[in-house]
């Protein structure tokens, strides 16, 4: 795009006009642009991340010293439950799928938007509403308080009479609708909207990771939703799913929950793998080693991840044959991860690495993922699991994974794609300082938890006695927590400052390999003036193809400026399949989301008849939405 001639200019101008959205707040409320929706997701999930972080600091403050009374026992139980629910369902996963996935997938595959732009908008508004729904409970003093895995019978009316658990259960059913919609959208987008020429073997590893995550969500969420529906039927309508006296079984809850809950872990970690495989080749300045193996490993992790759930239940007294089976599967799931760890690491070792902030965060990610993965292997050794489960050893393990390994790539990714999204450069020195603070903070917060866990400290206790011998470790953890928070604040300040004052970055400041670096920063509404030519997994490194794009724009080939048009291609080989007329911005997604929100509030307050009326209204809004579909 170095020499733009007059006909090319004219085509770009026409695209601008066709893809333009309403200005102002109204534009954001009715937008179907995946980039705007991605940013909406980002801001919403950052707000929830902040809330979850404050909860974490309150927990650590309470536990800093033995016998302390910073918060009451009831508040403490609400804090750790809400912290877990927030970080998993409202911060990390939606940030990965909704913000990073939404913003980047269409750009990386050379598409103009997601496959279903309005469904995409609906996903976001439902997500935001479900988060607000849960937090409405928090602010009314009815925060979830039975732990994020909410075991029955503790979560039944008899032992948890308040609405706390109903906010949790209905909020997560609500949230699940949004995630399912997002997952379907991503699967179809990745399969059908790739730029012609991008056969599956040329698709970026980030998209493989998002594809694996989306499939996992599709299969993992139904068991959770069913479980939550059973719970609400028992709580609101007196059913007996989990009631031993009437032939129910509390283990039903656990099986269904973990049938969701373990794939969930891979849902959290896979997009992080994807971000790592985006950042590493750029800063190691070479292609990923063992590309097909890594792609396969990403898919395998998601698949085997469905066969390991009972390792969360090794202490409940399952038959030996069952625990051994699940232990074997849990050992097996390690192998796709070791493949990836060595592929990332060797790409760095055998490349020409530049340790800039994004790669530093990926270095931190590898360190924490390996530490958390190695302690994870000890849960596949049944006797060690049976000793350490439900202690701080587990808390240490999964925070190395969910914070160290899942959030570090998100932080690295925020720096890496910051120039793409804003058109400005971040401050490198401050970014590296931010990395070291968060790295040291994370290690200091979570590493000592292994030790206190082995010293007998169990999870979810609001206080302990000095005689237990855990005080020093807990104090270090709390100090680490504050260092970590300081690092995150520094990162946030850097990004805000750079957004306002950063130097212009240009299209491609890091010489990235994937298609998002082909288009200007920030990308136009239509993403690509000309649908890029693709002949390898690193198209931005193929100078010949990029020169061809410029010629194509001149000639008007692959521009599709006759209307609001996007391209569909064949699933496997990525041949041009069809030219699609895409739906335009619409007020209906937010209207449907509003109706569904009222519906959930009415169910919560047991106004079932009125709830049915709002279900009808939501259906009418859906009809109106489709009335306006293009022909």
């Amino acid at each position: 795009m170095t020499t733009v001639t007059a006909p090319a200019d004219e085509r770009v101008g026409r695209l601008e006009l066709i893809w333009e959205e309403r200005p102002g707040v109204l534009g954001w409320l009715t937008t179907v642009d995946h980039k705007r929706i991605g940013l909406l997701y980002l801001f919403a999930t950052l707000a929830f991340f902040l809330a979850g972080g404050v909860e974490a600091l309150l927990i650590r403050t309470q536990l800093a010293q033995p016998d302390s009374h910073v918060v009451s026992p009831g508040t403490f139980n609400e804090l750790f439950t809400t912290h877990g629910v927030t970080m998993i369902f409202l911060a990390v996963i939606p940030m990965q799928i909704g913000a990073f996935g939404n913003y980047l997938v269409p750009l990386m595959i050379g598409a103009r938007d997601m496959a279903f732009p309005r469904l995409n908008a609906l996903s976001f508004w439902l997500f935001l509403a479900s988060g607000c729904f849960i937090y409405a409970g928090v602010f009314m003093g009815l925060a979830p308080n039975a732990g994020w895995f909410d075991y029955v019978p503790l979560a039944l009316r008899e032992y948890s009479p308040g609405l706390n658990v109903d906010f949790y259960a209905l909020g997560l059913i609500f949230n699940g609708v949004s995630s399912i919609a997002a997952a379907i959208n991503l699967v179809v987008t990745i399969f059908k909207n790739r730029a012609p020429g991008m056969s599956l073997n040329r698709m970026p590893l980030f998209c493989f990771a998002i594809l694996a995550t989306s499939f996992s969500l599709l299969f993992a969420l139904p068991p959770l939703t069913i479980d939550l529906v059973f719970l609400e039927l028992q709580r609101l309508a007196g059913f007996h799913f989990f009631d031993v006296a009437h032939g129910g079984d509390p283990l039903l809850w656990q099986h269904l929950f973990w049938l969701f809950g373990h794939p969930e872990v891979y849902i959290i970690i896979l997009p992080a793998f994807g971000i790592a495989t985006s950042i590493i080749p750029t800063f190691a300045r070479r292609k990923m080693i063992a590309f097909p193996l890594v792609a396969l490993a990403e898919l395998l992790v998601a698949f085997i991840g469905f066969g390991v759930w009972a390792h969360h239940m090794f202490a409940v007294g399952l038959p030996t044959i069952a625990v051994v089976f699940f232990a074997a599967a849990s050992m097996m799931v390690v192998v796709p991860s070791t493949i990836q760890v060595f592929a990332w690491t060797l790409t760095v070792t055998m490349g020409r690495p530049q340790f800039k902030a994004p790669l530093l965060f990926i270095g931190g990610f590898i360190v924490f993922f390996v530490l958390g993965g190695l302690s994870g292997i000890t849960f596949a050794a049944i006797p060690i699991d049976q000793a350490t489960t439900d202690t701080y050893y587990v808390v240490a393990h999964f925070h190395f994974i969910i914070f160290g390994a899942a959030v570090f790539p998100l932080l690295g990714g925020m720096f890496y794609w910051f120039p793409k999204v804003t058109g400005r450069l971040y401050h490198e020195g401050l970014a590296q300082a931010g990395f070291w603070l968060t790295f040291v903070g994370t290690a200091a917060t979570f590493f000592p938890m292994h030790v206190v866990g082995l010293l007998g400290m169990t999870r979810r206790i609001y206080t302990y006695s000095d005689d237990d011998g855990w005080s020093a470790y807990n104090l270090v953890e709390t100090i680490g927590g504050y260092v970590l928070a300081a690092g995150l604040v520094l990162i946030a300040l850097n990004l805000v400052w750079s957004r306002l004052r950063g130097a212009p970055s240009g299209r491609d400041p890091f010489s990235g390999g994937t298609l998002e670096w082909v288009t200007p920063s920030p990308p136009p509404h239509y993403n690509f003036a000309v649908i890029p030519r693709v002949s390898s997994p690193y198209p931005n490194w193929d100078a010949e193809d990029r020169a061809q794009d410029v010629r194509n724009l001149d000639r008007g080939a692959r521009v599709f400026d006759d209307g609001h048009e996007a391209v569909a291609s064949t699933v496997k080989d990525g041949y041009l399949d069809d030219v699609l007329e895409m739906p335009s911005e619409s007020p209906w997604p937010i209207v449907v989301a509003a109706c569904v929100t009222v519906l959930f509030v009415l169910v919560l307050t047991s106004h079932f008849l009125a709830a049915t009326a709002f279900a009808g209204l939501a259906a009418l809004a859906l009809a109106a939405w489709h009335w306006q579909e293009p022909e």
Binding site: A315, V324, I382, P383, R459
Partner: protein, 333 residues
């Protein structure tokens, strides 16, 4: 270099912390046969884990040392890399994981398994309550709470059940944990190598006072254990003096009797712990406070202070009633 020191540090810290650490809840200071097997397995696994970690960090460090290269080694060809990925990422893990699987999930699993039926002569029933442990001995009338006496060197079967929500019974120095789940009974072997007091906290979140639910296992010589059990099986001591008698009358006349049992008296409540031999216990409220005059008095006067949310209400007593009751409870040896 800072990166290297940072990484070496946790290894040193962990080894120091775990090797010498005292306390009576240290998983890696085993005092029972199954726990010896678990901690042995853990130390070997951890050693292997640190080696794996060192390899990955070493590779990253090598990349950092060579960060100023201008050319790709091997001309960017990734065949060598792929071979290394398959070797380090597939072959080595398959071997190591298979060995670990056989050792832990087939061999060690046997030593932590529930005791074979009929292999133990003593069975203790541990019943979880929000938030305390009821303890019963098969073949004996003994009922107590939160403190489990066992004879040292004798295999004892524990059968764990629950009265309400899910709890988890775990004595870190003796064995794995078992969840106490409605409708199920899980079994566990306890066998202490040496006399001693071994503690453990409830390991499954069970509500407001999950933090204050400690079980203590007291291993003592078999003779001492037999004497203890014999005493436990007896009904509550008959009051001797006048104060004692009045204390017992207060207990029976006030709501105490509705929730607690004093075997041999009209008090037969089953909401709170059996108090027949309260005076022999070391702690109150499942390890929350020591069982001495001062704490017992404080507990009766305001049970919601030390363990807010527990089911015991404060009972209005006159000064005389209070001291008589206190004296009587303390005398229940």
């Amino acid at each position: 270099m800072t990166r290297l020191t940072l990484r070496a540090f946790p290894l040193a810290a962990l080894t120091l912390a775990l090797a010498g650490c005292g306390g009576n809840q240290n998983t890696l200071a085993p005092k029972g046969k199954p726990e010896h097997a678990i901690s042995h397995l853990w130390w070997w696994t951890m050693t292997g884990a640190w080696i794996g970690f060192a390899v990955v960090c070493g590779l990253l460090f090598l990349g950092w040392l060579r960060r100023n290269r201008t050319e790709l080694p091997f001309g960017g060809d990734d065949k060598v890399g792929t071979v290394l990925v398959i070797g380090l990422g597939v072959a080595v893990p398959l071997v190591v994981l298979s060995l670990l699987f056989i050792w832990s999930d087939i061999v060690v699993l046997r030593s932590t398994a529930a005791p074979a039926h009929g292999s133990t002569r003593l069975t203790v029933r541990v019943i979880g309550h929000q938030w305390w442990w009821e303890v019963r001995y098969d073949g004996s009338k003994a009922v107590t709470a939160n403190e489990i006496h066992i004879p040292t060197g004798v295999p004892v079967q524990v059968i764990g059940t629950t009265n309400d929500v899910i709890h988890s019974f775990w004595i870190p120095q003796l064995n794995r944990k078992i969840d106490l789940i409605p409708g199920r009974s899980n079994r566990l072997l306890l066998e202490a190598d040496s006399d001693g007091t071994y503690e453990g906290h409830c390991s499954e979140f069970c509500g407001l006072q999950h933090a204050h639910m400690t079980a203590t296992v007291i291993a003592e010589p078999p003779a001492a254990f037999r004497a203890w059990l014999e005493n436990m099986a007896k009904p509550a001591r008959t009051p001797a003096g006048a104060d004692d008698k009045r204390g017992r009358e207060v207990f029976l006349a006030q709501p105490c009797a509705a929730c607690h049992r004093l075997r041999g008296s009209a008090a037969n409540g089953d909401v709170g712990p059996d108090l027949t031999h309260l005076g022999t216990r070391r702690t109150l409220a499942a390890g929350t406070i020591p069982n001495d005059t001062e704490h017992l008095a404080g507990w009766i006067a305001d049970p919601q202070h030390a363990k807010p949310g527990n089911k015991m209400p404060a009972v209005q007593l006159t000064g005389a009633e209070f001291s008589d009751l206190l004296a009587y409870l303390e005398s229940l040896k």
